[in-house]
């Protein structure tokens, strides 16, 4: 029996690239590496313009706070350190490296000397931090910090290979082509947490990967393969934990609070690479697809490679491009800049024409069919939330638990009236959070002022 959750939607999978072997992309002429690729502090550059850097060399460090160091993904010369608008509009400093094509590895890269049994938890966390590993499923939370905060609370580690977004096959290919790396990475994590058992969860649209893992793990009492029903958003960690354990993660809590810790499959592989070869996170598998691209494929891409280079590497465009999406079509971010770059969380780049949008010529109208209510994995009532949000009724939004929304987009996807439901909800959440912040600031002021007076 496959594990699953309530609600959710069945989407056309479009997993065109599921049989495409992961190909190593010819190194681009230059890469532009953002100094912030995830939540937490921005890294500070430790190289200057004109410096020659090696592949894997540290080029940015975190001075204080949460964050991961940044490494050069090619060898070559630093040509610029410039501010650039990231996809979310934030200005982020980028280090631009012109590739000299020598693939010269940094001398710092050497395998961890000790065996896993002799390695302490602190050492494992340090290896992961130094390798700059952050969650590669999309949320990109720094992995070392996740482990630190979860230590002692976790009784189950779950490797997330649900890959429930359409189009993306990066994890699927990784499991088929390099299951060892995932399994060994998981073993390192188990050692760090001191756990004897763990689970790898895969959706049942990847039976070949499941077979492969099961064959590899025959007789293993340590690692169990769990088969999940194919349904979006199974890869959301709340739904994943619920499917496997029956535990519901309360709003605002972390998986560790219900005794679980979830890692992406590629993150596990990266941890193994850091341990076995000393290789920091400087490249990742990216699914390139969409109806505009000539040759959809899976590429192993150096971080910082621009979307234009990837577009050219995949045979270029074959119809008028409308939208570039970084990530899956359900939760990915549409790009305004075709020269955006691959970061640690970029699992796919999709090139869509107008057709993919599936526009409906009638004005968006809620016909109250209730499909969004059935689709919502958080058991909210998206139709009412959208109505209240569109009318600016924030109190009623809060009463209907708008804050619990995980923005998976199942409601907007399933709406036959093509109401932008999750978009309304996002706007309402933003307004509510702004107001809370303003209230907190006002409260702080009122507490300060009497003292002054």
């Amino acid at each position: 029996m496959a594990f699953t959750f309530h609600g959710g939607i069945h989407i056309d999978e479009h997993k065109t690239t599921r049989r495409c072997l992961v190909e190593t992309m010819p190194p681009p002429k230059s890469v532009s590496i953002p100094l912030s690729q995830h939540i937490g502090a921005h890294a500070v550059p430790v190289v200057k313009v004109g410096d020659t850097v090696d592949k894997g060399q540290v080029i940015g460090v975190i001075e204080k706070g949460l964050g991961c160091p940044v490494h050069a993904s090619v060898s070559g010369k630093v040509t610029a350190i410039t501010e650039k608008n990231a996809a979310n509009g934030m200005k982020i400093r980028n280090i631009v490296i012109a590739n000299d094509g020598e693939e010269r590895l940094s001398p710092d890269i050497k395998p961890w000397g000790k065996s896993l049994a002799d390695t302490t938890t602190e050492e494992i966390i340090e290896i992961i931090r130094a390798a700059g590993i952050s969650g590669m499923g999309g949320a990109t939370f720094p992995t070392y910090a996740k482990i630190q905060s979860a230590l002692g609370k976790v009784e189950r580690i779950i490797v997330n290979c649900a890959e429930c977004e359409p189009y993306i096959t990066a994890n699927h290919r990784l499991l088929l082509e390099n299951p060892e790396a995932v399994i060994n990475g998981l073993k390192i994590l188990m050692k760090a947490f001191g756990l004897r058992e763990s689970e790898i969860a895969v959706e049942d649209n990847k039976l070949d990967a499941i077979n492969k893992l099961e064959n590899r793990l025959v007789g293993s009492k340590m690692i169990h393969v769990r088969v999940l029903k194919t349904k979006y958003p199974q890869g959301d960690e709340r739904q994943l934990i619920y499917a496997l354990t029956g535990r519901e993660l309360p709003v605002g809590k972390l998986p560790a609070d219900v005794g679980c810790c979830v890692f992406n499959a590629e993150t596990c592989a990266a941890i193994f690479n850091a341990f076995a070869e000393g290789m920091p996170l400087i490249e990742r598998i990216v699914t390139v697809d969409g109806d505009c691209i000539k040759r959809p494929r899976n590429l192993l891409v150096p971080l910082g490679t621009s979307f234009t280079d990837i577009m050219h590497c995949c045979g270029g465009l074959i119809r008028s491009l409308k939208k570039i999406v970084s990530g899956g079509p359900m939760m990915g971010v549409s790009q305004w800049d075709k020269d955006g770059v691959v970061t640690k969380g970029t699992s796919a780049i999709l090139f869509f024409s107008e057709k993919a949008e599936n526009r409906y010529e009638q004005p968006p109208t809620c016909i109250r069919c209730g499909r969004c209510v059935r689709a919502c994995p958080m058991r909210l009532m998206p139709n009412y939330l959208a109505t209240f949000a569109s009318q600016g009724k924030l109190e009623q939004c809060e009463e209907f638990d708008v804050i619990a929304c995980v923005e998976c987009g199942s409601c907007s996807y399933s709406c036959p009236g093509h109401v932008p439901i999750v978009q309304y909800i996002r706007a309402a959440k933003g307004q509510i959070n702004d107001r809370k912040r303003a209230q907190a600031a006002a409260l702080a002021n009122s507490q300060v002022n009497p003292e002054k007076g």
Partner: protein, 369 residues
């Protein structure tokens, strides 16, 4: 580019695993790729919040499904009551669509007749009329349904009662016309029309005799296939159920409202049967009158029914109880229209109190947050 649906259930063979998609002929040169790519690059990319894809279902495809599911009942109506049925239906649908078009044009709103929701309203109104009504009645009813009930409250999805049912109840202002039922196969004799003209109520429907606690003359078989007197579209429980199954299969409706509605009527009329044969009585109750039409097509109207499954069950039970109440104690033999309209008014409260507990919600409360 053709996307072949992935046959994901079959494990890949080793050969297939090594398969790399064919590149047509020789790969293009970098210059060719660049030139072609540049020709397809827009000046500005579209930036929009996720999700970037949508279901292929639209309001229109749903409304078309409803129209399709009503066709068996309509065709049966024509077979039983004659071609006049088609005339009435065309008038009703025509006036519904026409009045929506004119209203939206006059109000300078986007014209939405292509979403087919007015066609559904017109169809349902016609199916809810006796065949002997004068031709102006479906016209008046359709205009009332679309203008007063639907458009004045904001159009599709905003009306708080079912337009077709509200129009039907409005037409009860002419009770003689609305309560004259032709016998099946009568093809509307001149006599029947005359009766209608002179406001003489000729109540010979199975429901009328059930009201007096008498099992009807019509056999149960005739009631199920629909060879009985009644409104145009309500007679054949079998064909209405077939339409309902089509809607279920197409996921247009869920089972909750029809099953809870019909189930409640069956149960209550069985327990409180007015006859010494309670089972026969209860079966006659559910297969006669407008229960199947109401439970499957009218009570499930999206705009005027709850959105949660729990709410839909509550709503269906409410409709069922009210229907039996009106059939037993009301002035009319039939109570389906009235009970659905009354429950329509309660939908917001049902939704409000059947709001599901959000994922992880209980545990937060336990934690005392």
């Amino acid at each position: 580019m053709d996307k072949t649906p992935a046959d994901n259930q079959t494990p890949l063979t080793a050969e297939a695993e090594a398969h790399v998609p064919e590149v047509s002929a020789a790969p293009d040169s970098p210059e060719e790729i660049e030139a072609r790519t540049n020709s397809f690059l827009p000046e500005l990319l579209t930036v929009s919040p996720s999700p970037h894809i949508r279901t292929e279902d639209t309001s229109r495809s749903i409304m078309l499904d409803v129209c399709i599911s009503l066709m068996p009942a309509l065709i049966w109506g024509i077979y039983v009551f004659g071609w006049r049925v088609l005339t009435l239906t065309l008038i009703s649908v025509g006036f519904a669509v026409g009045s929506e078009f004119l209203y939206e044009k006059l109000m300078k709103k986007p014209v939405t007749i292509l979403d087919f929701s007015t066609v559904v309203t017109g169809l349902l109104l016609a199916l809810n009329l006796p065949v002997s009504v004068p031709l102006w009645m479906p016209a008046v009813g359709a205009v009332f349904a679309i203008i007063v009930v639907k458009q004045l409250f904001g159009g599709l999805g905003k009306n708080f009662v079912n337009p077709a049912l509200a129009a039907r109840v409005f037409l009860f202002a002419w009770p003689g016309h609305m309560s004259t039922f032709t016998s099946p196969g009568d093809k509307l004799s001149a006599a029947a029309l005359k009766i209608a003209e002179t406001d003489i109520v000729a109540g010979a429907t199975p429901l009328a005799s059930l009201k007096n606690g008498v099992l009807p003359d019509t056999s149960l078989f005739d009631m199920i296939i629909g060879y009985e007197s009644g409104c145009i579209g309500e007679v054949s429980a079998l064909l209405l159920a077939a339409g309902g199954i089509y809607l279920l299969a197409r996921r247009v409706i869920t089972w909750h409202i029809p099953v809870s509605y019909i189930g409640t009527v069956l149960l209550v009329t069985f327990v409180f049967a007015k006859s010494s044969l309670p089972f026969d009585f209860a079966l006659a109750e559910i297969f006669s009158g407008g229960l199947f039409l109401g439970a499957i097509f009218m009570a499930t109207d999206y705009a005027t029914s709850p959105v949660t499954n729990m709410g839909r069950v509550v709503y269906g039970i409410g409709c069922g109880l009210l229907t039996v109440f009106i059939r037993y104690f009301g002035g009319y033999a039939e109570g389906v229209s009235f009970s659905i309209l009354i429950m329509n008014l309660l939908v917001w409260y049902i939704d409000r109190y059947s709001k599901p507990v959000r994922f992880g919600g209980v545990k937060v409360d336990e934690a005392g947050k």
